[in-house]
């Protein structure tokens, strides 16, 4: 049974999403429980896959339909894949539990089964992108994930349908560019299987067609990831989407795109090509540095909490690219660890923004005064997330930043080191802006507090089904920080290609 887990983890949410669609015709309350069952089984499958990969030591290779590669499609799961599968499944499950009350408030009740269908299809696409080992299969699953994202973003607030339309145009350019990259690789090697292409590619390393193929890949996946010049769709789309949907998309979709870039640059294209032959890592490094500075400055200018967090996503993507640009073991360790950490950190922050919107109806930072009296637990979770993003030990964000810094120093890329340090400072300013406004009160109000009718300290009015996942995600951030050493030693060490 356990050999079938690689395909079950993709097929289970696919079938159950249509079961949700049909069940919604009869009983709308059933949909949520089917979603939770699907994602819980995905978590179980992903843990089983991780255990198998760790005990086996080498990648699982599962051929669909028993057709041998390179003629058939196969799912290849090695240490990198397995780690990301576990994080995606866990974050998706926690956000799904959180999503119930949040979606009921924001979306009309007749559309709830459709939202859950799209939720599960989105998770199918993301898990499939992570698990597959075939280039064209990745395109199909990327499009499945993207379509669900387009449709479910359009259900948001005023302006969401226009933001979704712009996202459709941008996202289609990205996916088509990825398809063109696959096409160029197919013309040069005659195969679509990632491992087979990696074997056949060194014969054509000096051809211009390969360079164009790599460029198309980078642009295509860059649009999906949200790298600096190609991130324009991100702030509008993720801000105006429903809260639970942003909490699902923002942590997961962009990070899975980062995984795809690592796969393409280091597994399909040999590290010798990406690093030594052409200055790919240099270009990526410069884009990352400019992107981080740009995103930090734009984030400082926002008054909407969710929009600020969207620019933060762009900056975190820049961090991962700094890890890639360092092109040594330390940098890549930091990049992979940052992918996992950032999923949890962004999930934490976006769920907090959704909870604040649920209780107070606003996301404007300037209205957060006295929030610590009415929402203490939510703000505690926010502080954990904020400290992790800034990089305070022993939370997980510190360890990934530490490895990124070490990698950049070892590669003698001083510009990247400076950008990393400056951006940490700007993060501190960003988050303390919010924390100060929420926690501290002006001096004059202290004496008149009880007379002026300021809110008395109460516990959050946010329901438990929203609070519990947030607390679990915060606990996950702390646990990831404490166990970073073990994760690096047992999993990430084997995930990095040996040539580095």
């Amino acid at each position: 049974m356990i050999e079938q887990f690689p395909v079950l983890i993709v097929v289970t949410p696919l079938i159950l999403s249509f079961v949700v669609n049909v069940a919604g015709l009869w009983n709308r309350r059933l949909c949520f429980y089917i979603v939770v069952v699907a994602l819980a089984s995905c978590v179980v499958f992903s843990l089983g896959i991780l255990k198998t990969v760790l005990t086996q030591g080498e990648p699982i290779r599962y051929s669909l339909g028993n057709w041998q590669p390179p003629w058939g499609i196969e799912y290849v799961i090695d240490h990198l894949n397995a780690l990301i599968l576990v994080s995606v499944a866990v974050v998706a499950l926690l956000v799904a539990v959180y999503a119930k009350r949040s979606l009921e408030q924001e979306i009309h009740e007749s559309k709830i089964p459709q939202v859950y269908t799209l939720f599960l299809l989105q998770v199918t696409g993301l898990l499939g992108i992570t698990a597959t080992g075939d280039l064209f299969n990745l395109y199909v699953l990327l499009e499945i994930a993207s379509f669900s994202a387009y449709a479910v973003i359009a259900m948001g607030e005023r302006g969401a349908d226009f933001a979704a339309f712009r996202y459709v145009i941008f996202g289609t350019i990205g996916a088509c560019a990825y398809l063109l990259g696959t096409g160029y690789l197919y013309i040069l090697t005659g195969s679509l299987n990632m491992i087979d292409v990696a074997h056949l590619l060194p014969q054509s390393f000096y051809s211009k067609a390969l360079l164009v193929g790599l460029a198309f890949f980078m642009v295509g996946v860059g649009i999906k990831m949200g790298i600096f010049p190609l991130h324009v769709w991100l702030p509008d789309a993720y801000t105006l989407a429903p809260s639970a949907v942003s909490a699902l998309l923002a942590p997961l979709f962009t990070k899975v795109g980062a995984y795809v870039i690592i796969r393409i640059m280091f597994t399909v294209f040999d590290p010798a090509f990406s690093i030594d032959l052409y200055p790919v890592t240099d270009i990526v490094g410069w884009l990352a540095a400019i992107g981080i500075l740009f995103a930090c400055i734009m984030a400082l200018a926002q008054s909407d909490l969710k929009r600020m967090l969207c620019y933060l996503i762009v900056a975190e993507m820049g961090y991962i690219l700094i890890g890639l640009a360092s092109a040594n073991r330390l940098g890549l360790t930091g990049a992979i660890l940052h992918i996992v950490n950032d999923m949890f950190m962004m999930a934490c922050l976006f769920t907090v923004a959704g909870a604040i919107f649920y209780q107070t109806g606003t996301r404007d930072i300037y209205q957060f005064r006295y929030l610590h009296r009415t929402m203490p637990i939510t703000l505690a979770v926010f502080v954990v997330g904020a400290l992790s993003v800034i990089g305070v030990p022993p939370l997980c964000g510190f360890f990934s930043k530490w490895y990124l810094l070490l990698g950049a120093i070892e590669a003698k890329q001083w510009a990247l080191v400076v950008v990393l340090l400056i951006s940490s400072l700007i993060y501190a300013v960003l988050f303390f802006r919010v924390i100060e406004r929420a926690y501290l009160e002006p001096r004059e109000d202290h004496s008149h507090a009880s007379q002026k009718g300021h809110p008395a300290p109460t516990l959050d009015k946010v329901p438990l089904s929203m609070l519990a996942p947030m607390v679990f995600i915060a606990a996950g951030i702390i646990l990831l920080g404490i166990f970073s050493g073990k994760i690096i030693a047992h999993i990430i060490e084997f995930a990095i290609p040996a040539a580095l």
């Binding site: 079938q4 395909v7 079950l8 097929v11 696919l14 079938i15 249509f18 079961v19 669609n21 049909v22 015709l25 599962y62 051929s63 669909l64 339909g65 028993n66």
Partner: protein
């Protein structure tokens, strides 16, 4: 909103064409094994026959045949056939879409079992594609009010 207009030529021709279009859709599906064709192409042609109805006749007649409930059911039915065959192969001991293992329940050898497995899967694809195409069409011309308008016309 497509209004009801009496035009005897268009209605007669459509009445003669629609059954032929549907048979042609099934023909394209069945001949997908040995000639160009298959599930998606047959499904589009089949859906075209349903889309011809509101253009020739009235929208309500088409919607009575394809209420939103039925569309969702057909759409999911196709996916269940596809994934169901895959899971059946899983239960019979093979990998996900390994139709060769279907020879345990069908009275043929593994090579012909792959032949029949693909035929069933293409049928599932056709059902889903047909349902989705018709659903897209009806949702676009009623601006998303597929269900409500039906309730209004029944009053």
């Amino acid at each position: 909103m497509i209004r009801h207009q009496e035009d005897i030529i268009i209605q007669t021709i459509c009445r003669m064409l629609i059954p032929f279009m549907q048979v042609y859709g099934l023909y394209v599906l069945a001949h997908g094994h040995g000639s160009p064709g298959g599930g998606f192409q047959g499904g589009c042609i089949f859906a075209a026959s349903f889309i011809l109805m509101p253009i020739a006749y009235d929208l309500d007649k088409a919607k009575r045949r394809f209420a939103e409930r039925r569309t969702i059911l057909f759409c999911s039915l196709g996916v269940f056939i596809y994934a169901g065959i895959g899971l059946l192969c899983l239960l019979l001991g093979g990998n996900f879409l390994d139709y060769g293992k279907l020879s345990a329940i069908l009275p043929v050898d593994p090579v012909m079992a792959r032949y029949y497995g693909i035929a069933v899967i293409e049928t599932g694809v056709q059902i889903t594609v047909m349902a989705v195409m018709v659903s897209i069409f009806i949702n676009l011309i009623t601006s998303g009010r597929h269900e409500e308008e039906m309730r209004n016309t029944h009053d």
